[in-house]
Structures are given as C-alpha cells and as structure tokens.
C-alpha cells in the first residue's frame, strides 16, 4: 500500500515537472457503460515501466470513451496470466462482459514485445489477439493501438485513441501563448510555437502531419501551415484585414478560410496545389467559421445575414446559394461536422449561456450536450463518439469532452494556465 502511494506521488511530481500536462478527470456518467476487466499485463525482462504501463493506459482510454467501464484494479476477482488461467464462470457471475490479458517483454535486442488477448466472457472464447514490437519511445503509442483495436472490435467503430490533439495555451504576465500537440490522453505535450501575440484556430491536416493555424506574431494576423515533424512552416495567407478560421478539406487539397481583404469578412477557398484563391460568399454580413462536409464539396459556415449568427450550408458549385440549417435560438455558430456527415456540433447561445449542441441532419433534431455558460470550439472526435470542446471552470479556461449522446463528460485541465481551441487529428502521423 505504501509503495503505491509513493508511486502515485512520483507520477504526480513527474507530470508537474516534465511539462504542463493535461490532467483528465471523468466527471459524469460512468453508468450504462460496458463492464470490461483489463488484467494488469505481466512484465518480463524488465520491471513495469511507470510511464508506459500498457494495461493502465488501455484501461484509461476505454474509460474515457464513455462506452466502457473497466473494473478498478483493486476490485479484480483474479489476475489470470494465460488463457488457461481464466475461469470464465467467475467473471460471468460478476457481470463482466469482456476480459483482456497481455504481456510485455523486453528482449535482448532492446525491443519490447507487447501482446494482448481479448475474450468474450459469455462465450468463453478469444475474439481478438495481437502481438506488436515496440521501442521504449513507442510503448505508449502501442498501448493506444491496443485500445483502438479493442474499441473497434467491440463497438464496430474505429478507435481514435492513437492520434494527437492540438490546442492553444496561455499563461503568465505578460501573457505567453503556446501552440501545443499531445497524445489524446494529454501525455507527451510538445510545443510547436511560443509567442507574445495571440495564436488561434489550430486545425489538423487530414493525414495528421501538419497543423494550420492563425498567429499574430508579426503584429498582424496570418495563416500558417506547420509540419509537426520537421518544424518547417509556410505562411499561406497574410492579406489586409483578417486572416482567420482556416479549415482543411477532408481530401487534403483545399483550405477554407475567412478573409476581409475586400472590406468584409467572407469565406474563401485556397487550392493547396497552386495557392489559387476563390471567394465563396459575397454578403455585407459576417460570414466565417467554415467547416467541411466529408465529401469536400460543401461547407457549413456561420453567417449573421439573418441579423444574428446562424449556420448555413453552401456547395462549392458556382451557382449554389447558402441554405440555412439552424433556426432554434439566436446564436448558433462554429460548426464541426462529424466524419460521417450526419451530425454537426456547434455553439448554441441562449440567455447569456453558450453550450455545445448537436444537429442531426437527417431528422433536423437538435440536442444540447453541455451546461455552459461559456462553452466553445467544439470538435468531433474522428470516430464521432465524442465532442472535444473548450469550457470554463471557476473562471479558468479548460478543455472538456462529452460523449455525442451527452451522457458522459470529462475535463482536461492544465495544472498551470489556460487551455483552449482543441483539435483532434483524424490519425497519428
């Protein structure tokens, strides 16, 4: 017991000093999730690595999805190590649907071998089993791959754990802004850009290798594309007026953005092959916050053309006219489209409270997911099961996530400073 406390203390200290790590707490709605027993993996050739505890990472990933409730380690009925050790009847009686066992082995050549097996407790049989090779540096990534495989097998939906998130932090006086990328569980934060001037609107390229964002570092706003591996970046838009709200088309070929170079904020698209710019909207009202539909052939955007901000859909066809999508309330803005194109998450403002809502395009039904009062920047997880967003907690800016049915919530807070504008990469690159 004492050892465990020392361990926890060590983890706490490690997280604080290593970098400003996002700490994740599940705040609401564990009930209704599928019970799963993840037996602590056995380690051979080395003692368990605290910062790469594979089974603990998998357990935490699955819990965060809201679809699973892993049995707490201290409530496990048994700790089978091999398939033959599993007494399925015991787990059945305990109401556990699925069980995972696995092993990590440090081999003579310095590589790690990670293997796991997933069992259906009721049928008493293995339904999935894999073996991976990993280096010391890729062990956490391997754990997220294991989570993705288990999630996909049991839900039929692609996993989204082995990916990255990008976000903007601010702290200190005078304020220092940082653009950071981290694993989806907040670990391994890397700073792409530090600036005394605001950084805004980070969005991933579809292949997960680049981030496009707005930086005011020159004193004016400009849109940059930043390769996260090489650190190379390119300024793609620095027109007179605002350079804002970049959005990468799902086919990777086009950037949508908001420019006011002709006097008023309008939506433009830029070809990433030849940088050709085409103006899509012409209206005296504000048009901004473009978000692509999955086919890369139409956009959802925010417009104040009715007098108040509402969402509209516009096809890239030359003679297309915007079609209004939201009618409920007088502030509906900043759309994020789910990868299957069936739902749009957005900010729904009413009575001085701004909440995250989802509009289902087939039924036109709207569901409010969060409580506000200042929730913003919704971003669908690549598999559509969760919406990541920015929120406030006791006056401090934090990130939060809500399952797309609104049932389960979690918060991701920085120990020091404020964090906002999350973007979840479709894949890890």
């Amino acid at each position: 017991m004492l050892n465990r406390w020392i361990l926890l203390l060590f983890i706490a200290c490690f997280s604080q000093t290593a970098n400003a790590v996002l700490k994740i707490d599940i705040t609401e709605g564990i009930e209704g999730a599928t019970p799963i027993a993840i037996i602590p993996f056995t380690w051979s050739g080395t003692s368990k690595l605290v910062d790469a505890d594979i089974s603990a990472i998998v357990s935490s990933d699955l819990a965060r999805s809201g679809k699973f409730s892993p049995v707490p380690e201290n409530q496990l009925l048994a700790r089978p190590q091999r398939p033959d050790d599993i007494h399925f009847k015991t787990w059945r009686v305990a109401g556990v649907d699925h069980l995972v066992i696995g092993a990590v082995e440090l081999k003579a050549d310095g590589m790690y071998k990670v293997e796991f097996r997933l069992f259906n407790v009721y049928r008493g049989e293995q339904v999935l089993g894999y073996s991976f090779n990993a280096t010391r540096a890729t062990l956490r990534t391997t754990a997220h791959q294991v989570s993705d495989l288990i999630f996909e097998k049991l839900t039929g939906l692609p996993g989204a754990f082995n990916s990255r998130i990008a976000y903007v932090t601010s702290a200190g006086k005078p304020v220092e802004y940082r653009l950071q990328v981290a694993d989806t569980d907040g670990y391994n934060p890397q700073t792409l850009l530090t600036s005394k001037e605001p950084i805004m609107s980070p969005v991933w390229s579809p292949d997960g290798s680049r981030v496009v964002y707005v930086s005011f570092e020159t004193g004016m706003s400009a849109i940059y594309i930043h390769n996260i591996h090489t650190g190379e970046r390119e300024k793609v838009a620095s027109f007179e007026g605002i350079n804002s709200a970049p959005a990468w088309s799902p086919d990777g070929k086009t950037l949508a953005m908001t420019l006011s170079k002709e006097g008023n904020p309008d939506i433009y698209i830029m070809s990433l092959e030849n940088r050709a710019l085409r103006r899509l909207t012409r209206h005296w009202a504000i048009d901004t916050e473009p978000a692509w539909m999955p086919d890369s052939q139409s956009l959802v955007f925010t417009s104040s053309r009715s007098g108040k901000p509402q969402l509209y859909q516009l096809s890239l066809d030359q003679d297309s006219r915007p079609r209004r999508l939201t009618f409920d309330g007088n502030y509906n803005a900043n759309a994020s489209v789910s990868a299957d194109g069936r739902a749009i998450a957005f900010v729904h403002g009413a009575n001085n409270s701004y909440r995250i809502a989802v509009l289902y395009l087939d039924t036109r039904m709207m569901q409010v997911l969060t409580d506000g009062p200042l929730d913003e920047s919704p971003d669908f997880a690549p598999n559509g099961t969760m919406v990541l967003y920015a929120s406030q907690d006791k006056g401090k800016a934090i990130l939060a996530a809500v399952s797309s049915d609104g049932r389960q919530k979690q918060r991701l807070a920085l120990s020091d400073g404020e964090v906002r504008e999350p973007s979840w990469a479709a894949k890890r690159n």
Binding site: P198, M200, S201, F216, G219, M220, S221, E240, G241, I242, S244, A245, T258, S260, G263, N264, P265, W284, A285, I286, D287, T288, E289, T302, S304, G307, K308, P309, Y331, A333, N334, V347, G349, N352, Y354, L374, E376, S377, Q392, G395, R420, E421
Partner: protein, 189 residues
C-alpha cells in the same frame, strides 16, 4: 473606465434630445443593431453643428474638453483626442452618436497631420465563438475607419488589426468586464 461609459450613455441621451430631434423609439432596436453596419447610412440624418471648431464642447459630458489638431494634441489629457477607446453593444458594430463625434475629431487630426499613422484595434467580449468575434471586431474597426476616412484621413494612415476576444481590457466573466472589452482602440504610432 466604468464611469466613462456611464457618462457616455448619459451623453447619448443628451445628444439625442438636443441635436438629432429623434423621438424615443426611432433608435434601431437590438434586433436590428448589427444590420445598420453601413455607418454612412446609420448616421445620416444626425444633426451635428453645435460643436465649434477649435472651441469647447458645451452642454455635454465632453464639456470643457479642448479641441485642437496640433501635432501633440493627442497627448493632452484635456483634448477630445485623448478619448481613444470606442465602446460597442453586444454583437454590434454600431457606433453611438457621441463616439461618432470623437472619431470625427481623430479623422480631422489625421487629415491635418498626414505623417501620423494609427493602428486601429478591434476587440469583443468573451461571449460567442472566437472566430466570429474576430470577424465582429473587424467590422467594429472597419466602421471606425470609415468615419476617419470621411474626415479626410488617408487609408494608408490607418491599419486595422482585429483581435476578437483574445486581448480583453478587463478580466472577469460578467457585464462589468464585458462592456469594457467590446471596443475599438485608436492607437497612434
């Protein structure tokens, strides 16, 4: 700062009663506020003319403020040009009548001092979405710029930068802070 806003509100009333001849209710209501974004239209019909050039304001909250367009007038705390922040209503880029007056003096100053340049910063409060707020702040700054140009300032003298909600003047999450953050700042360089 807060008392400044209250003074301004009082001034709207005074100005409305004294000069514009408007009857209560002709001011566009909130629902329409942002639709009157074309400043030339929104302010046409406003009668201005009781404020003498090079004189003093009389009968308003700006009473006692000096009017002069000397080069260093912007550094004189008693000069009308010392008012360098314009405030707005929520989700609106409409400029109040007394702020139109203030901006006109800045426009004349720029016209008479062609080597002076200004950075015009647009800001919003934290409510609503960040990128919409960048666009809204841009419209606020554009509205101010239009008035400056009407007075003879040259477009090359005025550079707009729109921060949206990124640089609040006041921290806090209530109307006390928000009203100070919905602003355009005229920064002489």
């Amino acid at each position: 700062m807060k008392t400044g806003i209250m003074k301004n509100s009082l001034l709207v009333l005074v100005m409305a009663l004294l000069f514009s001849g408007c009857t209560p209710g002709t001011k566009p209501d909130d629902e329409m506020a942002d639709m009157g974004a074309d400043i030339s239209e929104a302010t046409s019909g406003t009668t201005i003319g009781t404020i003498g050039e090079g004189g003093m304001f009389a009968g308003t909250a700006l009473e006692g403020m000096k009017i002069s367009y000397e080069k260093n007038a912007i550094n004189d705390p008693e000069n009308v040009l010392s008012i360098k922040t314009i405030y707005f209503a929520f989700d609106s880029s409409e400029i109040s009548e007394e702020d139109v007056e203030v901006i006109k003096h800045h426009g004349k100053y720029l016209a008479l001092q062609p080597d002076v340049t200004m950075r015009l910063e647009g800001h919003t409060d934290e409510r609503g979405t960040r990128e919409y707020n960048v666009a809204l702040a841009d419209r606020r700054a554009q509205a101010v710029k239009k008035l400056l140009l009407f007075q003879g300032a040259s477009a090359s003298q005025v550079t707009i930068i729109s921060y949206g909600e990124e640089k609040p003047a006041a921290l806090g999450h209530d109307e006390d802070a928000w009203q100070l953050n919905r602003r355009a700042e005229l920064v002489y360089e």
